[in-house]
């Protein structure tokens, strides 16, 4: 009996590894690939240097009026000058701490939910959901003990966030109910829910906003007048609920039949079965989908410009047509794009990470 002596590992031939190997494999593997590389380099060459030149090298960063801006480069002075308005709209200057505090409370309050080791997450989460909205409304709008700031003065990023967050939070319960209704055994309930969902999903948000601003007043008794923002929020909530319903339905479908049967065998009634067994699992599965819906909604908030609300986008747009700062539309839109992009990109990365985690969880 002999023992085999293994040969030592040898380093690969130099042409297949290292920088040279990488370049050969990824950029110059054949003539077509080399051509593509040349094309890509050309594209980069014609776009990136001028962009850097405009946005950084030739840009003006400090000053107070348009005359401080050097021609040819970006005028970031414009953004600096209007920054507070882009964030808060016409919210009274002295009261803006209330907006800041609302955001801080939201972040600080939600933070423990992302700590893995946190005990009693569910109880805490529910308590937070019950308390925070009232607190936020009191802080932003005012009321007992706080000066009232009417919603017509709300604006900027703050208003964008209010519409997006209230929109999704309001749409969640309605959406879940609609999803349950769509999968119900009762034909009348199913028909009502399907009609509702398909109606809102079939029309553009802009027509829904139009509808809420001109038709809602007609629908209600004469003596009731509702605030413009509230009208927009109702429109957004109804619209988003339909999308949430479809996302949640996907989650409900993914729950294996055995779970329903097991819950049924335990003698749980419909609502307890759904509330205690099915929905917690289904909702966990659809978090990425809900985040994606939220991203879509966040982008769609820009449509409120149609009904004359001053969200982030409209604030910036109005600033670009202000005679004192005419000619800096590009800077304005680039800044707006950057803000939206950071939010949307960040959330989409988060949703992708969740999705990966859920997938591995299922495989195990």
């Amino acid at each position: 009996m002999s023992t085999h002596v293994f040969k030592p590992d040898l380093p690969p031939p130099t042409l297949s590894v290292g920088v040279v190997g990488w370049l050969r494999a990824n950029l110059f593997s054949n003539w077509f690939n080399t051509l593509l590389t040349a094309l890509a380099l050309y594209l980069i060459w014609v776009t990136v240097p001028p962009l850097i030149q405009w946005a950084f090298l030739d840009a003006t960063w400090s000053g107070s009026t348009r005359s401080d801006c050097a021609p040819g480069g970006a005028c970031w002075v414009f953004i600096q000058n209007r920054f507070a308005q882009f964030m808060y709209g016409f919210y009274p200057q002295g009261l803006r701490w209330r907006v800041d505090l609302t955001v801080i409370l939201a972040v600080a309050g939600a933070a423990p939910l992302f700590v893995k080791a946190m005990p009693r997450k569910l109880v805490y989460g529910l308590a937070y959901l019950l308390v925070y909205p009232w607190l936020a409304f009191w802080l932003l709008h005012g009321g007992p003990g706080l000066e009232v700031v009417p919603t017509s003065q709300w604006g900027g990023l703050m208003l964008t966030l209010v519409i997006a967050v209230v929109g999704i939070a309001g749409a969640m319960p309605l959406g879940v109910l609609l999803a349950l209704g769509r999968r119900s055994d009762m034909p009348a309930i199913r028909v009502i829910c399907v009609t509702f969902i398909e109606f809102w999903r079939g029309v553009p948000l802009i027509t829904v906003l139009f509808m809420s601003s001109v038709m809602l007043p007609l629908f209600l008794p004469e003596q009731i007048t509702i605030d413009k923002l509230l009208r927009a929020l109702i429109a957004v909530i109804l619209f988003e609920a339909a999308y949430i319903a479809e996302v949640v339905r996907g989650g409900l479908q993914a729950i294996p039949k055995g779970q329903y049967e097991a819950a049924g065998a335990l003698g749980l009634g419909y609502w307890r079965m759904m509330g205690l067994v099915i929905l917690p699992q289904a909702l966990k599965l659809v978090i990425p989908g809900i985040v994606n819906t939220f991203i879509a909604l966040f982008k769609d908030t820009s449509l409120v410009i149609i009904i004359g609300l001053f969200d982030l986008f409209n604030s910036i747009h109005q600033a670009t047509v202000d005679p004192a700062w005419l000619g800096f539309a590009i800077e304005g839109y680039v800044f707006a794009a950057l803000v939206y992009w950071i939010f949307c990109f960040g959330m989409s990365r988060y949703s992708m990470r969740l999705e990966r985690r859920l997938h591995t969880g299922h495989k195990r």
């Binding site: 079939g202 007043p217 007609l218 410009i305 149609i306 539309a329 939206y340």
Partner: protein, 394 residues
Amino acid sequence: MQNPASEPSRRGSMMTDPKVRAWVFQILAIGAVLGIGWYLFHNTQANLAQRGITSGFAFLNNPAGFGILQSLIDYTEGDTYGRVFVVGLLNTLLVSVLGIFIATIVGFVVGVARLSPNWLISRLAALYIEIFRNIPPLLQIFFWYFAVLRAMPPPRDSHALGETVFLNIRGLYLPSPTPAEGFWAFIVALVIAIAGCVALARWARVRHENTGRYFPVLWASLGILVVVPALFALVAGSPFHWSVPELTGFNFRGGWVVIPELVAITLALSIYTAAFIAEIVRAGIQAVSHGQTEAARSLGLRPGHILRLVIIPQALRVIIPPLTSQYLNLVKNSSLAAAIGYPDLVSVFAGTVLNQTGQAIETIAITMSVYLAISLSISLLMNWYNKRIALVER
């Protein structure tokens, strides 16, 4: 399902019987819906009466009295609101068709580029996708419209491309064809060429089945499509006069003018939707497992055939359903045109007509029905397609 009436009634109260409960619940739900409907209807009636608005669709026959920036059919201020509706609808469809066409091409190119073995190309494609799908489409429309197109020079200082295409603050000027002496010959030639291509494809398929010999139909068809009309044009004379836009005084004469609103919205929606389509295409191609390519390779199939016979047919099944929903999104997003004053359906009908006539309910109902009809017919089509695919798989 059994008939609940035929079932012997159980002990206990009526409400614990699930069947009875289901009936009660459904009746309550229908009642609630009807009740809310009646309440809204009642309020609306009262409000309309109070404002002195008569409901109904008679207003569609009244003259509109306003001009429209762009119309695909003849339209003058004296035409009716009904015609305004058609003009708006056609403009919406124009944006949708242009947008879908461009977005599909760009989306497929970027999606394939995303999977390129070339690292740089794949990164650039990823950059494109990540940038454009995370910026609100309305913002992109405004950017192209206000920051780029409205900042274009006046006609005198137009950007020119080879003295035939001009871009200035009034829009994009393109040369336009008008029929010339060879026009009908050209049409005939085109028909012949297309018929020839169809016949060629059929012949090639039959021959391939019968003899196994392969014929490059695609290249031959392209050749036919170029050569036959060219020959006819040589004999019968040029099929078109090209009317090239020309600067006379302060503006251009002749040619086609594409209004900046249309350019902005088409550009923005195409770029935005293409980012989503690219992701769909990437996912679709990746959904075809690597094993499929390896099996095809090990059988000796050439790369072109592997793509055509193995990868594309499988990838398309994954791609088509989400692709159509992107198309639908684009159609719905075309309503953003209203924000920059492009005369689409929402802008002219749910906007201008509504303001002039005060017929809020009618105009918005008509507008929404149009979008609903489009959405529903596409989703019916999709359901049918998915069922067919499912049948084939299983």
